[in-house]
């Protein structure tokens, strides 16, 4: 193989979820395509780095700082939804259920990966609490996300802020018979009055 191809495969295989085989397939696909397709791809990649950055207020990915959500007068500025990564905002936005703003922590607590509170955008969140009535903790329901939610809940509650956590439970279309006890237990614990 010629060097540029090896280099492209090498670069692609550094991406998450891309192994050497997939990287090779993608590289050959690029090689087969037209020059303009390759240029568009290369331009799109460099544009992402040149034109986008993290919002100085909430850390979402944005072309203008502060981001559109932070400056939207129609959004409820008294409610912040806290997520781990910028890409967690999209799915929540698509539900149309959250009218407030966001705060991206840029990770979750994990001593194993050397991530403590100082490595996360926690201080930045604490500086945003003026006029905040509720913080919704939407970190992932895994060990790291749960620990981060617990950590934040302790601090925020001590400051008199109402803290809520995304509900856990059975998926829509699920069946009680095939739901494991932990999920079912969480569904019961998080049940709501009708």
């Amino acid at each position: 193989m010629s060097d540029p191809l090896v280099r492209l495969i090498g670069e692609l295989s550094r991406l998450p979820g891309i192994g050497p085989k997939t990287a090779s397939r993608l590289a050959h696909y690029v090689l087969k395509g037209s020059r303009s397709e390759a240029s568009n791809l290369a331009q799109a990649i460099t544009d992402v780095k040149d034109l986008l950055s993290n919002c100085g207020r909430c850390n979402a990915i944005t072309a203008i700082d502060p981001c559109q959500i932070c400056t939207d007068p129609l959004r409820d500025q008294s409610r912040i939804c806290v997520v781990e990564e910028p890409f967690n905002i999209g799915p929540i936005e698509r539900t149309g259920e959250h009218q407030g703003t966001y705060h991206v922590l840029l990770g979750a607590l994990s001593p194993q990966r050397g991530i403590g509170p100082k490595e996360l955008a926690v201080e930045q969140l604490l500086h945003r609490l003026d006029g905040i009535e509720e913080v919704i903790l939407a970190t992932n329901p895994n060990v790291e996300g749960e620990a981060t939610a617990l950590y934040l809940a302790r601090i925020l509650k001590s400051k008199g802020i109402e803290v809520s956590r995304l509900a856990f439970g059975m998926p829509v279309g699920g069946d009680i018979e095939y739901t494991d006890e932990v999920t079912l237990g969480r569904s019961l614990a998080g049940r709501r009055l009708l």
Binding site: L109, P111, Q112, V143, E144, A147, L150, V182
Partner: protein
């Protein structure tokens, strides 16, 4: 060398000399059912000499027919159910299996981690959320251990996380051990193995183990000073044990090799009975079942095992099985099984 077999219901006796491949056959069935080996923790060790890959494919006929496939290829374990890559929980639920081989004596006389693994196999079999509970506890424990090894700051959050998953795990383990005790009594009565008074109990390292997450949290925080000094999590289900005592004494103090073997198989049968109560009856794998057992105990064991749905027994002493009604008799040699 590829091996293709149709294995009927009933008791299968596989005889062959040492090194003929009897244990490898049982191991392949175990691999198919559990994706793991009972002989080694490194799955790459299951490849035949000179090979880097292996695959075991099988069809389990329970209420329906389900195709299982476990493959080790280019350093990756791939499991599929009916041709579709599956989650571990779904895979394990297809073909419940229990096995006993020489290394399992550790459950009786070895270090506590062998007994914890034994209990946790029961937890996984008993509860569909068992795997998730064990995995969450282990992950949380690893994070706490790492924290203690670094600066130890923020321990409270990790203790709170640990208290929740420890509570879930302790409850599941306690539930399983209670059922195991009941089953063990029934097995001992039915088999007449002559083992005397056998007591099994679950010992939690947390005094507050059964009192709920808040009590566990309090106890964990009480140990935090010592934990910071030792840089190790000192309390929790990872330090629990299953106490197995024969007439009031530790098994290693009083049981002969034959008694240990009989006791081990009795425990396995009790474990299998618990699995049968909550799901389908497991397949039994007994490696070198007759070694260390005298004729009378072998007959006692036979009384219990011979009625099970599907049992695979290996032995290098075909004569000791004479007079017993074996459904399927196989000879093993050169990597092949031949019906005799």
């Amino acid at each position: 060398m590829p091996l293709d077999l149709a294995l009927e219901k009933g008791v299968h006796l596989i005889v062959g000399d040492n090194g003929a491949g009897k244990t490898s056959f049982l191991e392949s069935v175990y691999l198919l059912a559990t994706t793991k080996s009972f002989r080694t923790s490194r799955i790459s060790d299951c490849c035949s000499h000179g090979s880097k890959n292996f695959q075991v494919v099988g069809e389990a006929s329970t209420e329906k027919r389900t195709r299982l496939r476990i493959e080790w290829k280019e350093g990756e374990r791939i499991r599929s159910v009916n041709g579709r890559v599956s989650g571990l929980g779904e895979y394990l639920s297809v073909l419940p299996i229990v096995s006993w081989s020489s290394g399992d004596t550790d459950v009786l006389v070895g270090p506590p981690d062998a007994r914890r693994r034994f209990i946790d196999r029961g937890v996984v079999g008993l509860s569909s959320g068992g795997i998730g509970t064990i995995s969450t506890y282990r992950k949380t424990l690893l994070e706490k251990r790492r924290l203690l090894q670094s600066n130890g700051r923020g321990l409270e959050v990790w203790n709170e996380m640990l208290s929740l998953s420890a509570h879930n795990l302790i409850e599941l383990r306690a539930k399983y051990v209670e059922r195991l005790k009941t089953s063990l009594k029934a097995v001992l009565k039915a088999s007449d193995l002559g083992l005397g008074d056998l007591q099994v109990s679950y010992k939690t390292s947390l005094k507050s183990g059964r009192e709920g997450p808040s009590a566990i949290m309090k106890e964990l925080m009480g140990a935090s000073k010592r934990e910071r000094v030792m840089q190790l999590p000192l309390l929790g289900p990872h330090r629990d044990d299953l106490s197995i005592r024969l007439s009031g004494f530790a098994v290693r103090q009083v049981a002969s090799a034959g008694e240990r073997k009989a006791l081990g198989i009795a425990l396995l049968l009790a474990h299998a009975a618990v699995l049968s109560e909550v799901g389908s009856e497991p397949v039994y794998l007994l490696d070198d079942a007759d070694t260390e057992l005298d004729v009378s105990r072998l007959r006692s064991l036979w009384r219990v095992i011979s009625h099970r749905q599907q049992v695979f027994i290996t032995s290098n002493r075909p004569l000791v099985w004479e007079g017993l009604e074996i459904d399927h008799f196989w000879t093993c040699g050169d990597g092949q099984l031949n019906a005799a």
